[in-house]
């Protein structure tokens, strides 16, 4: 989930922070210190996150496009300049553009807004933006909520009391609410100093940028892993189940399934599963005598050389499914909708069992078949030749089909009666008795028009069918039962 850091570089950020005569800082220095701490943390613990840095005052500027190069981000922080007044709305429009250009409108994004809480004055101020929210045309809509799912974190280089003296806190809360409500407003506790800014950014890091560590289990085989990005909690139905579902830190393999059977399933999110070395020993690495130091392998080298289940699993999956591919690949985890049956074609997940319990291998001895997909009990309309006469053409086609077969009697006896019965059923269900009479008349007419060369059976079948339709059109329960079928008249012309 990419991050946009949106840094307030308005003049108010240069306000000094008084610290009892000790060296003076500007609020900007505190903000930069906090962001440096965040970037350092990400560089070592959350390196795969794409982060971009934007600065804003009355205008906005993309300082660093989305990157994993945290040095570049820190470098840009050290070169910030000071500008005029704060205009949050323009900056948020900038965020919206930058994110959509890079990731489209479906990719969830995190926005870290760093500001001192003085949110501009007059036109362009956040207060003004929020007040005029409802008086805008389609072309000047407020940028929130963003089209993409958003988590908004507002880092205030100010304490809560200060923000509550004006309407700044109210405005920020409204901003968070407008963005969809997912996120948090952080303020500094105690005096404005390096220590309290560290505490504040520390909370953000713990909440959002702590790596998700889990254990991947396959029976007794297991591997410590990091799952990236962090799996997000999911609410399926806020009324029935308002508690979000979260991903357990024990990821248990239940069994295996062919790629063709899983068939491009819809996923909530996808995550890299990266094996990690967790040092469970309390003992520190003993260094022994100095002359052995060169031989001492580093911890990561050691980890690289001890067999890891993730690597085995990845290797075997790759070998099984893409034996010839030279493409770089990784172990990935896809999250399905939580619930008993995320993919209808697999059936209930809890009812997937081992093939060893089946009498015969459901995949066949030579893998020639598959127990998937699971078939639904009732066929969909497009798979069961339903009758729809909403359009006149539908009805005409069905009548013509019967007539076409009628002219080819007795060769087409079976098809003729099949189509006749289909029409009969629909006409009875729709209460369309007039149609039954009409088709009976048509069949009688066909009977009179039979050529001399026609098989004598044709005439018998046509008048029999016509008579049966007429009986059905009376609604007489003996002849108009839905499940009843008109059967061909029994004739014997063999002699």
């Amino acid at each position: 989930m990419p991050t946009v850091v949106l840094m307030d570089v308005s003049l108010s950020m240069t306000r000094p922070v008084s610290l009892d005569g000790i060296e003076e800082f500007q609020r900007k220095n505190l903000a930069v210190h906090g962001l440096n701490m965040l970037f350092e943390h990400m560089a070592s613990n959350y390196r795969l996150e794409f982060t971009s840095l934007m600065a804003f005052s009355s205008l906005w500027e993309l300082l660093v496009p989305f990157t994993r190069d945290y040095n570049a981000l820190q470098e840009a922080l050290s070169n910030l300049e000071d500008y005029d007044k704060t205009c949050v709305e323009a900056a948020l429009n900038g965020v919206s553009n930058v994110v959509q250009q890079e990731w489209g409108s479906a990719c969830p994004c995190q926005v870290v807004l760093v500001t001192d809480g003085s949110l501009g004055i007059g036109k362009g101020s956040l207060r003004h933006s929020l007040q005029t929210l409802k008086q805008r045309g389609d072309d000047k809509k407020f940028p929130l909520p963003f089209p993409f799912p958003t988590k908004l974190f507002i880092m205030c280089i100010a304490n809560a009391e200060e923000l509550q003296m004006t309407d700044a806190m109210d405005n920020l809360e409204e901003l968070l609410c407008l963005s969809g409500g997912d996120g948090q407003i952080f303020t500094m506790e105690g005096p404005l100093c390096m220590k309290s800014v560290q505490t504040m950014f520390g909370k953000l890091i713990d909440l959002v940028y702590s790596p998700f560590h889990a254990v991947l289990h396959c029976g007794n085989l297991s591997s410590d892993v990091q799952v990236f990005p962090r799996p997000e909690p999911v609410v399926m139905d806020e009324e029935v189940e308002p508690m979000p579902r979260t991903v357990s830190t024990d990821l248990e393999i239940v069994g295996f399934i062919e790629i063709a059977d899983i068939a491009s399933p819809p996923v909530i999110s996808r995550h890299l599963v990266l094996p990690i070395a967790v040092n469970k020993d309390v003992d520190e690495v003993g260094t022994g005598t100095t002359d052995e130091l060169e031989e001492e392998p580093s911890a990561s080298q050691m980890a690289g050389k001890s067999p890891n289940f993730c690597v085995l699993l990845h290797g075997s999956l790759k070998f099984a499914f893409l034996p010839l591919s030279k493409k770089k690949s990784n172990l990935m985890m896809s999250l399905f909708d939580p619930g008993p049956e995320p993919l209808p074609w697999l059936g209930k997940i809890s009812h997937l069992g081992p093939i060893s319990e089946a009498a015969d291998n459901p995949y066949g001895e030579d893998d020639s078949k598959s127990p998937f997909p699971v078939q639904p009990q009732v066929k969909r309309s497009y798979a069961q030749n339903v009758t729809v006469w909403i359009k006149a053409s539908g009805l005409q086609t069905d009548v013509q089909k019967i007539l076409r077969n009628a002219r080819k009697l007795p060769d087409k006896t079976q098809t003729f009666y099949k189509e006749l019965n289909r029409l009969r059923k629909a006409a009875l269900a729709f209460g369309f008795w007039e149609l039954l009479k009409g088709v009976a008349d048509l069949l009688e007419r066909e009977c009179t028009m039979l050529p001399d060369s026609a098989h004598p059976d044709a005439a018998f079948q046509l008048s029999h069918a016509a008579q049966q339709l007429k009986l059905a059109s009376t609604g007489d329960s003996q002849y108009a039962a839905f499940d009843h079928n008109i059967v061909p008249m029994h004739t014997d012309f063999s002699s």
Binding site: W103, A106, P147, N220, P266, G304, V386, A429, A480
Partner: protein, 728 residues
């Protein structure tokens, strides 16, 4: 209390998946269709069903056109509504169909098994068209509307299941519903009377429901009244948008001419009611090769391109709505000005390659015009197992594959494919991470393991005596299959030996037959035979300089490993135990520790250090760990000398076996002072025991009894083996 129409709002917050609430008004739909005498009137829309071909037209008087009654129009349009609904939501969006004349007739129930158009058609056939001679004074739509309110109070299976599951928060299960009334009303006043009556009935029924387990009070009811009148007449009832009658009831009135206007209206309603949207697939080639329903086509050789319109949940267009691309994406407004469709272009599929697309949603579809030739060609093509990628036309003219049509188990889904840049691009290489530099993983063996542990759907009716769900049994199988499963080739001997396969495959089973035990025993005898013949073994030479362990030591390693494998299963059943007994009885005993003293000091130090480094595996079941560790350490030390182990290239035979003498040797180190090695072994054991998970003895005890310190024998054996390796 107000129940705002929440499902109309976009989802808020990104942990929300945009779905209809489980118990929104869409959960329960009651159709109330007027069956009074006036519904037998003709719609006056005529259908020419005798379409004469030119050649036959001469001298034949064509049949007079037929016309549908108001009743027929109402029924077929409501069936079409249900058809689309059941196609897109086969489960838990329920319809209860009621017909009203001098009394009400309930044609089906909320039960899942009653939810199909076939059931409803069968029931409708039994009702038949209205009787025009019935006394109109006795007939009223009110009977049906009252029954509809009563029906909405009846609990559905899903409501029941959820209430049971939620226990004390059962009140989260809401009871809302919609009544679609197809009737011919007399006037606006008549409509108001019907609304008032429904309102009163709701209040009455809610009182009744309060005292019942099988009834639920109605929290929200949406009345959709469709007034149907014949073509060519003026309507006596005016259209009215949705308005709130009371906090419990909203009502809207649609005044529609019978025939195709009614059909269009109900098609729009089903889309509104169930959050549907329309996609038109364009440029579908109907070449004979692609076409499966061509047999009746007169001009089968012509190849034309067709369009097919599909309905599906509107979330399949979510990205278009959000990005504002909708109007560029070939959206067109229909003639009626109410419905929009998104146009996507067919991309002729390549050969049946199996690809796993990054798909963010899959939605069931229903063709708008299910019986039309283009529709049935497309659906049959998909039902036959082909998938079709769909291209979104963009204003820039660039090609973007945005969707895929594919069928699974006879159901067709519109998959939404991700066409944006991935945030997971350029991930770290697996070879740079943990275990990335190990080169001899048992890749093919694990591939076979995965094949054996594939899953299959188990019918819900099949009952397992253990009471465990199939997925739990699958996990239990994985547990059994991995009790002893070395991950790399150089960690194992037995899994590199074809001769062990029959036993290794059988011993992991939950239960063994006598025949299985016999097969295992035969495997063991076969190994004994191999040992007697001094057959070479695929012992790992990784980490050993020179020739590796001697042949008799190789066999001892093999027997130890086999015993380790079987011991992990011996506790399961008596038959498993019999296999272990057989191995213990047949295997060669560890040799004397005579050459133990040759071990060098340097190695010990190195191993000691490794242990401190904590790179060791944590299980302490057997000699395996120290053995494995040593292999790794040695490999580390002499990387250039590593010879990849292979079962095909065993050590050449060079030493005589010492079978006979060994068998009578006491395995214990009974003589002499304690060696450095013993001290080291004891230390290792002590360290390991701190990390262990379950007492091995407890795990594999027989009748709660287990011989303690068996592993000392093994460890003893290992020491000797190590000496052998070190000998140069």
């Amino acid at each position: 209390m107000l129940f705002p129409d929440r499902e109309a709002l976009p989802s808020q917050g990104f942990h929300q998946i945009c779905k209809m609430k489980m118990f929104s008004v869409a959960h329960k739909t009651v159709f109330v269709v007027d069956h009074c005498p006036y519904m037998a009137e003709s719609s006056r829309q005529q259908v020419e069903c005798d379409v004469l071909t030119k050649s036959r037209a001469q001298g034949v008087i064509p049949l007079a056109p037929v016309s549908k009654s108001l009743w027929t129009c109402a029924v077929e349009c409501s069936m079409e509504y249900c058809r689309i609904l059941y196609d897109v939501y086969p489960k838990d969006k329920l319809v209860n169909y009621i017909v009203s004349d001098s009394e009400f007739h309930i044609l089906n129930s909320w039960r899942r098994e009653d939810q199909s158009t076939h059931e409803l058609m069968s029931a409708l056939a039994a009702v038949g068209p209205p009787n025009p001679r019935e006394d109109p004074e006795c007939c009223s739509i009110l009977h049906g509307l009252v029954a509809a309110v009563e029906s909405l109070c009846k609990i559905t299976e899903l409501q029941h299941e959820k209430r049971i599951a939620l226990m004390d928060t059962a009140d989260r299960v809401a009871n809302r519903g919609r009544i679609i009334c197809l009737t011919n009303a007399k006037s606006d006043t008549h409509v108001r009377m019907l609304e008032d009556c429904i309102q009163e009935t709701i209040i009455e029924q809610n009182k009744l429901a309060a005292g019942s387990d099988r009834l639920m009070a109605i929290q929200q009811c949406e009345l959709v009244l469709v007034h149907i009148y014949p073509q060519g007449e003026d309507t006596l009832v005016s259209d009215r948008p949705k308005k709130e009658i009371s906090p419990l009831l909203t009502s809207e009135v649609h005044s529609v001419r019978a025939g195709r206007h009614l059909a269009t209206k109900l098609n729009i309603l089903v889309q509104q009611h169930f959050d549907l949207a329309s996609t038109t697939i364009t440029n579908i080639p109907m070449k004979p090769t692609l076409n499966v329903c061509e047999q009746e086509e007169q001009h089968a050789n012509t190849s034309a391109n067709y369009d097919v319109e599909l309905l599906h949940h509107r979330d399949a267009h979510l990205e278009f709505f959000k990005s504002g691309d909708l109007h560029m994406a070939g959206t067109s407004t229909r003639e009626n000005g109410l419905k929009e469709t998104v146009t996507l272009k067919w991309c002729t599929p390549r050969t049946n390659s199996i690809e796993l697309h990054y798909c963010t949603g899959a939605y069931r579809i229903s063709p708008t015009d299910v019986n039309s030739r283009p529709s049935s060609c497309l659906t049959n093509f998909l039902l036959n197992g082909r998938s079709v990628l769909l291209e979104q036309p963009r204003k820039s003219g660039s090609k973007v594959i945005s969707h895929m049509l594919s069928s699974h188990g006879g159901e067709i889904f519109l998959h939404v494919l991700n066409s944006n840049r991935s945030t997971l691009e350029d991930p770290p290489s697996i070879s740079e991470g943990c275990g990335g530099r190990v080169t001899d993983y048992r890749i093919t063996d694990f591939g076979e393991f995965m094949r054996e542990n594939r899953l299959t759907p188990v019918s819900e009716s099949s009952h397992d005596p253990s009471g465990k769900l199939p997925a739990e049994r699958a996990k239990a199988q994985l547990e059994r299959h991995t009790r002893y499963w070395p991950m790399i080739i150089s960690q194992t001997t037995i899994f590199n030996m074809q001769a062990v396969v029959p036993l290794a495959n059988l011993i992991v089973k939950e239960t063994l037959t006598d025949e299985d035990v016999l097969t295992c025993q035969k495997t063991v005898y076969n190994l004994v035979d191999m040992e007697r013949k001094n057959d070479p073994l695929p012992i790992s030479t990784v980490g050993s300089r020179g020739k590796g362990p001697k042949r008799d030591e190789q066999y001892r390693i093999m027997w130890n490993e086999l015993e380790t494998l079987v011991k992990t299963h011996a506790g399961a059943t008596d038959r498993h135990q019999r296999v272990l007994d057989c191995i213990i009885a047949c295997r060669s005993k560890p040799p004397e520790e005579e050459d133990r003293k040759k071990r060098g000091r340097k190695r010990e130090e190195r191993e000691d250090r490794t242990e401190k480094n904590g790179s060791k595996e944590t299980d302490d079941k057997s000699w395996q760990d120290s053995e494995r560790l040593k292999g790794l350490m040695d490999k580390d030390e002499q990387e250039s000398e590593v010879i990849k182990d292979s079962p095909d290239s065993p050590e050449p035979l060079n030493k005589k076996p010492r079978l006979t003498s060994e068998e009578i040797q006491p395995p214990e180190r009974t003589k002499g002072p304690v060696s450095l090695l013993t001290m080291w072994s004891n230390r290792i054991t002590a360290v390991n025991s701190r990390k262990h998970q379950e007492f091995f003895g407890r795990a594999s005890s027989v009748n709660s009894k287990f011989e303690l310190y068996q592993h000392l024998k093994d460890e003893n054996g290992m020491d000797v083996h190590e000496n052998g390796k070190a000998t140069r």
